[in-house]
Symmetry: C3
Subunit: 471 residues, 3 copies
């Protein structure tokens, strides 16, 4: 049937349950929250996007090049990532890149990315046909024309999307001048908050660990091998972030291992790390102890602590060496929390000031460990399904896995975690539809009253993110 285009599908009842009675309940719940503002307390949009407010350059830049969910699938089908301008590769011809996506559009059927892109193309650019070889040039031109319209600049879209809060993710040594400038700009009224992401300063096996620590301690005016100075420097950077509006610190560790060490023992590991002669086992101890100490800092300064563990970063060395990180080959690992986090929770789990949000890409941990922990410790919250699990069926599995143990009140609210600015409303809309679908099923099965579902859907969308992230 080549040459016959497929209409782009945007079913108004999409993601609602098949059973008509349940579907009607879901639709009603969704309607009640569809228009609420977007709260995005964790993500990867660059603040400069909103500061500069430049037009997006082209459809490839917008939808493909920076979205490793999309480029990885094209790569699996044999497309060279460099042809798409991914990572360190030279920018490709954007029209050709767009055409490559269009030709491979069918690969995305059934994926989360396919769902989000469809939403974006239909609602923002009024495309009527699915991308395909035949329609690629026309859709490229349609999108490009829209991008030249001032209504498609980042700030205009920020407002159109109804974003109230957007958190970025930032290096601890970032001066946050862009955030400061945005905050001081009277023409921009959104809240754009930095997030403290110190992994590379806490893990001796991270690239450039020593150089980073040197820069940190030099800034702070303490000797590189002074452990107390290093800790104080980290606290000072956190204070700098808080002064610029930060509400959370994010930790992307490979395992959520924690260990409680005294200052002497931890200091000795630190000095060996800074001297470059700490072995892998020692590095694990040091990193595990620093994760625990970061929880202590959170107790003191109030930053919400989020942990995103369990990913083997840069699985293909060949692709990493050629194109750099975040190029689509971070692969999940089995992850356990009960034992790994116990030292941290022994020390700080009952502290009323701590908010610890646990994410997972190993969904077996939801019912087995994360919900049981969050259903007891007042400090622990269940992070929304993340990365590969941020997709319709996975979200419903998540809800079914955690709710029976921990209810709804122990969740983080939805987290979009995205680099793709245009996907933010698609993702939040998806989450609202799925939560409506889940609640509708509970109503239909006589497990919660309709009125309770009406209360909870608002709690999930609006109240929990504010409470958990102290917005």
């Amino acid at each position: 049937m080549k040459g016959v285009s497929t209409p782009l599908l945007l079913d108004p009842d999409r993601l609602f349950p098949a059973d008509p009675a349940t579907r009607a309940i879901a639709g009603g719940l969704y309607e009640s929250v569809a228009g609420l503002p977007i709260l995005s307390p964790h993500g990867h949009v660059a603040p400069s996007l909103l500061m500069d407010d430049e037009p997006f350059s082209d459809p490839a830049e917008l939808f493909i090049t920076h979205d490793h969910y999309v480029t990885r699938l094209l790569h699996s089908a044999g497309v060279d990532l460099a042809r798409l301008g991914v990572g360190r590769s030279a920018p490709g011809d954007p029209r050709q890149t767009w055409r490559t996506l269009a030709e491979h559009w069918q690969l995305l059927a059934g994926t989360a990315s396919g769902y989000w892109l469809t939403h974006e193309l239909a609602t923002l650019f009024d495309l009527r046909d699915e991308p395909s070889a035949e329609t690629a040039d026309a859709s490229y031109d349609t999108i490009s024309a829209r991008l030249a319209d001032p209504a498609y600049r980042p700030r205009a879209l920020f407002e159109r999307f109804g974003i109230e809060v957007l958190a970025t993710t930032d290096d601890p040594m970032d001066d946050l001048s862009v955030h400061a400038a945005l905050g001081a700009d009277p023409s921009f009224t959104g809240r754009v908050l930095p997030t403290f992401r110190p992994d590379a300063y806490l893990d001796p096996t991270a690239t450039d660990f020593i150089a980073r620590v040197l820069r940190l301690t030099e800034w702070h005016g303490t000797a590189a091998d002074d452990f107390a100075g290093y800790l104080a420097a980290l606290e000072a950077r956190r204070a700098h972030f808080i002064a610029h509006g930060a509400v959370s610190a994010d930790h992307g560790v490979s395992e959520p291992y924690t260990v409680d060490l005294g200052d002497d023992e931890a200091g000795a590991l630190y000095r060996r790390a800074v001297a470059g002669n700490l072995d892998a086992a020692g590095a694990r101890e040091f990193t595990g102890n620093m994760l625990l100490r970061m929880a202590g800092m959170s107790v003191r300064d109030g930053l919400v602590m989020t942990i995103h563990p369990g990913v083997h970063r840069n699985h293909s060395s060949a692709v990493f060496d050629r194109l750099g990180p975040d190029t689509g080959h971070d692969i999940p690992l089995t992850t356990t929390y009960t034992g790994n986090l116990r030292p941290l929770l022994q020390r700080h789990g009952l502290d009323p000031g701590l908010h610890l949000v646990l994410f997972s890409v190993d969904e077996t941990a939801y019912s087995r460990e994360i919900a049981p922990l969050a259903g007891f410790y007042p400090s622990v919250f269940i992070g929304a399904p993340w990365w590969f699990l941020d997709a319709p069926d996975a979200v419903l599995r998540f809800r079914a896995a955690v709710t029976e143990t921990a209810g709804f009140s122990r969740g983080s609210g939805f987290i979009d975690d995205t680099r793709a600015f245009l996907s933010i409303p698609a993702r939040h809309d998806m989450a609202r539809r799925l939560d409506s679908a889940f609640l509708a099923r509970l109503v239909r099965e006589g497990r919660i009253p309709q009125k309770t579902a009406e209360r909870i859907i608002v709690e999930l969308v609006d109240i929990l993110p504010r409470r958990v992230f102290k917005l």
Copy 2:
């Protein structure tokens, strides 16, 4: 909407599938077993409750203080466990404790506890509104008034609930005089059976292991360091339990590790354990060998062997030190069975006398290990979903995970495992509804005939528990 009460929901079709045709099938299956007697071959109700037959003191005692499913969620919301009278804390003011639950009622929405409590409040106490701050005092008074009624004493409820068999869980050195007195009491016709739970006598790392073993061997008249005497003493206590009606021995190990050791090697470990100088690795070997030996005793004396593994007990030392065990912070662990149980099954797996029931709080083991083991070894049975997994969605996941490999005949039947006497009918009713729902789906999908479903629902509710637990 504060101040407007929500009617307490007790949908007659609750937990049935959404699709109307499937729902009708489920309803019919459920009707056929809704009135069958309750068989509860594993649980934690104290036998003195039925011996003394005293009125329940108050709604807090009845619904909150001893139910760690409920108190843990309140704790996660910041409620001090001591305010609820949990564990070793002083009893609180029951009206205030009830009010605390009522104020936090919404936390329970979607949880198994919320479902059970709703069932109990609606069917036993005819409450019409959900607990809330506004209704707390009135509902407290309503429930209290009922508790003064002789119809709400334990024995009357035992009869009203239709309980035919109720197993308790008991220390091996318990003299079982309460069970004996109950059995001899002509005014009580129910069967209340003790269960042999020897963990603390088998694991050198358990609190008071040495003191317990001393008491055991002293009772038996053998030297504390005589391994053969220790084994004989355990067998004698099992015989004592059997003489008082016990049908099973229950094992709550942290991992289902087993190892086959000769008497010399095991005896040497034992002597070091009793002398207090066995290290952790040795203790693991000893405990793993004793688990295997307990299977051997089961082959000889016929006690069904149940294993409840995979829980990190007392995760928060601070709460444990203050309030004691069973205070809501036992957290599941990853658990594997294929390798761990192989030595036990090598020795006894084909023995016709052995009934080994495997429970799990790591639901990944259901399809991967437990169903494949039970689908081959005549001795192995699949334990019903336990603890955090004893909830509507989890039960349906369980059925879907095990049935395709092992059918229905290899299951244990439902196990309520509860300390909360009033929740027994709610839990069994839930299980009957869910099994009806699961079977109805298979019928609707053309996978089993209606007639087969009608046979299986009776098998699940009535026949399997009798067969597996030798009732």
Copy 3:
């Protein structure tokens, strides 16, 4: 109700979703592929079955004796495997064996085997009643009479089943003369392909490893302790297989561990293995290195590489010693891929010539590891649900677990993996129904257009197996 037979159920809408609207979509999709030819690129039917084309001897031989899915369940119910003629036991009385199955028919309710057998008995033998003690003799006679009909000989059934390609599984030293004879026989037009299965030649802990390697190297004319000769011999056997039509090499390792070793190091391990003095740790390294080297051979010679890991073979030594392998007690293990396969993928994962199909009996790996790997590496494909997971609910869980990350194009297509020739159409029909059901749900939920579903169902049934297995 003993004595009243149950009609054998073969619902034309079986396995379709309950919701009528979704069911209608599924039915339409299924209709479009129900009649397509069967492609079976991995299985265990003996080629002599088709070469000899003898009548099947009796119903027991046909449905029971060689089907360890069936005999294991009978064994769990206390039936002695030897009474069924399993493995090395003497052939039993076939009528009695059939009667044993008939008497235990209810054990199969809800299992995949029960579903397949029902399909076979209804469609091939026109049985109207479920097997039971009462109907056993009559159904035995009905089936036996049909087996005498030339239309029930293997070749006639091969044609009736619409099998286009059937792969067998073969020892590397097999001369493949049966395959050659079949290929040369003008009266048989089907494609029957050998599959290279070298496990016992790669794993020093395998039974007869040394004897096998001696035979291999002697055939090749190189010294037994010459590592280069051993590698060349393996490559020569692969070439022999390719010359006889093989398209894939299959690897049934206990864990998918790989390690990249130089020739010197690997050769040293090899020489110790052949000398019989390589320890378990060394054997693991050698086997892990050989798995990686087999991927290299696949890059060079084009054989698709399939890995079936994660099974503890022959769990019961008593049954193995008495009856041999494949007697129903192979039990799954936890299995991880991300780290284990990394060395292999570092070396060959980006090679366009490699097709690496990953199977799992640990379904937790689907969303966590296999789909993320296949959604990036062009060489990695997602194996269809295998063994215990080749069943209706498990297949739908599989689709839900992998599709949102990797779409549909990264799958292997359905693999029946069966020893039971008559079950081939039942299994493929089941897969087609389930894929139709899954796609219909996506359509009903507005996630893919109807037209896309119509394309994908053909892709799954017909296009992917040809592409992935290079048919």
